[in-house]
């Protein structure tokens, strides 16, 4: 029992040593993102979910600080609720602490890995992990564990070293298999319900190519 208490204290001690109010590199990134007051951009959307076949869609994206992102399209478009907060305002909205998790190589680039832990109950995520390129001061990858909607991971590519906002975003998310209202919209569908139950939750990807940014900065 005493051994267990020592180990727990040692573990917590190590953890607390790394924990800090806010990581300085993260604050630099946050400051850059905070400078964006509004932006509009053109989106090309592709859905990669095993049970959804959707052609490439095009939409216009509108962001204004303090408001949720809006989309505009002549077509029917389906955009993920999570992962399109490119300014990360949801992440930094509530007080948080950060934990430096060291360096990690992602796609050939050494990135700083940081955990963000909200310090109040208002945040809708339990923990977020960010992989930051400290040289160009921006987030390359983020993984957010939400309280209600599972985990989603966002990969961001930028076309220039000075770009604040990404030109390509891949949002990887968990998605529940759809239920079958086939009496309305389909007939003659052979359904393996046992198999479907086994595959209740799946991972999907949403691939966005973003262009023609018009950024309004401070």
């Amino acid at each position: 029992m005493r051994k267990l208490i020592y180990i727990t204290c040692l573990f917590l001690g190590t953890f607390m040593l790394n924990a800090q109010e806010a990581d300085s590199d993260l604050l630099v990134v946050k400051e850059r993102l905070d400078s964006i007051i509004a932006f509009t951009a053109d989106l090309e959307l592709n859905v990669d979910v095993s049970f959804i076949n959707m052609p490439t869609k095009y939409a216009k994206m509108h962001y204004k600080k303090g408001s949720p992102v809006n989309f505009e399209s002549d077509d029917f478009v389906m955009v993920p609720k999570r992962g399109l907060d490119l300014s990360m305002q949801e992440l930094f909205k509530n007080p948080f602490i950060t934990v430096d998790r060291g360096k990690e190589e992602v796609n050939g680039t050494v990135l700083k890995k940081i955990n963000i832990i909200p310090t109040n109950n208002k945040a809708d995520f339990a923990i977020a992990t960010l992989w930051i390129d400290t040289d160009v001061k921006r987030i390359e990858v983020s993984e957010i564990n939400t309280k209600k909607n599972g985990t989603y991971k966002i990969f961001m590519n930028y076309n220039t070293s000075g770009a604040i906002l990404p030109n390509k975003v891949i949002v990887s998310f968990e998605i529940e298999k759809i239920k079958l209202p086939i009496q309305y919209v389909a007939k003659n569908v052979e359904v393996d319900r046992k198999k479907m139950r086994k595959e209740a939750t799946k991972t999907g990807n949403f691939i966005l190519n973003i262009s023609n940014y018009k950024i309004d900065k401070k």
Binding site: N53, P55, F76, E176, V185
Partner: protein
């Protein structure tokens, strides 16, 4: 032969049940449109309910293309049933009214007489499907506009408006073969049964059994690839993301083969039997 065909067309449009049938088809279309107007959003909501936690939706899926697809689904039962009643009536009414004997007193070859009925039945079926398609597209687009189509066929398939319109048109074209098959089959049943009510019962049974057999899964290549009930859903294949054209052509060509067999069977039986 030409005169016989003209006479059959005249008789077909002289009888009131032809117009009752056309009206019935328009009423079914109207009901589909009205029910979609009142509960269409609910249908879409149910379909996309699981995705609503994960996605935002922008745009309208309750549009003309979905409505045309719902009308297209009358190909399973409603439309062939109405066609069966009218087409089989083209011959059974002649038996019932004893006009057949009068006609046969004329210097007319029996096979030419019944063949002209088959030709007019096929022409009538094609015209009815065309009318159904035309009214479905016009009313659906006028009242609900155009838009993307969503269909569940094992996977949730979305189609752009123009693509959806093309697939729906092709589906009507493919479904026409299926409708002609049921019309021709009902005419052959009329040749065999002669009596109106019995013909309707047997023809309706034929349609129901075909629908049931289509859903039955038997581990047999012949059953899946060659048996006519399995060939009647070729139009549905147009709503898979990658259209299996070869399968559609194969099913329709085979179904045309079945149509020819049924026509020859009917003509042969009619030619052989005496008119009492």
């Amino acid at each position: 032969m030409k005169d016989l065909i003209i006479a059959e067309v005249y008789k077909l449009f002289k009888q009131s049940k032809t117009f009752y049938a056309i009206t019935a088809i328009l009423i079914i279309e109207f009901l589909v449109l009205v029910s979609a107007y009142y509960q269409g959003s609910a249908i879409i909501d149910i379909l996309l309910s699981n995705l609503k936690d994960t996605f935002y939706f922008e745009g309208n899926l309750l549009n003309g293309n979905l409505l045309v697809y719902l009308i297209l689904n009358t190909f399973w039962f409603h439309l062939p049933l109405i066609l069966i009643i009218v087409v089989s009536g083209m011959l059974t009414s002649e038996y019932k009214d004893n006009t057949l004997q009068t006609i046969m007193l004329q210097p007319i070859e029996k096979w030419k007489f019944v063949m002209s009925k088959y030709i007019v039945a096929i022409g009538f079926t094609i015209s009815v499907v065309f009318l159904t398609a035309l009214t479905a597209f016009v009313f659906s687009y006028v009242f609900f506009g155009k838009g993307d189509l969503v269909i569940y066929l094992g996977t949730l398939n979305f189609f752009n408006s123009a693509d959806a319109q093309y697939r729906l048109q092709m589906a009507f074209l493919s479904g026409t073969v299926s409708m002609v098959f049921f019309s021709v089959a009902s005419m052959t049943i009329a040749v065999i049964m002669k009596e109106t009510t019995k013909t309707w019962i047997i023809a309706a049974l034929f349609l129901i059994v075909s629908n049931v057999l289509q859903k039955v899964e038997i581990n047999s290549v012949w059953y899946h690839k060659w048996f006519f009930p399995k060939l009647n859903n070729a139009w549905q294949l147009l709503f898979y993301q990658d259209i299996p054209w070869q399968e559609i052509y194969r099913s329709n060509i085979l179904l045309m083969g079945y149509i020819i067999v049924f026509v020859f069977m009917g003509v042969g039986i009619f030619n052989k039997n005496d008119i009492k």
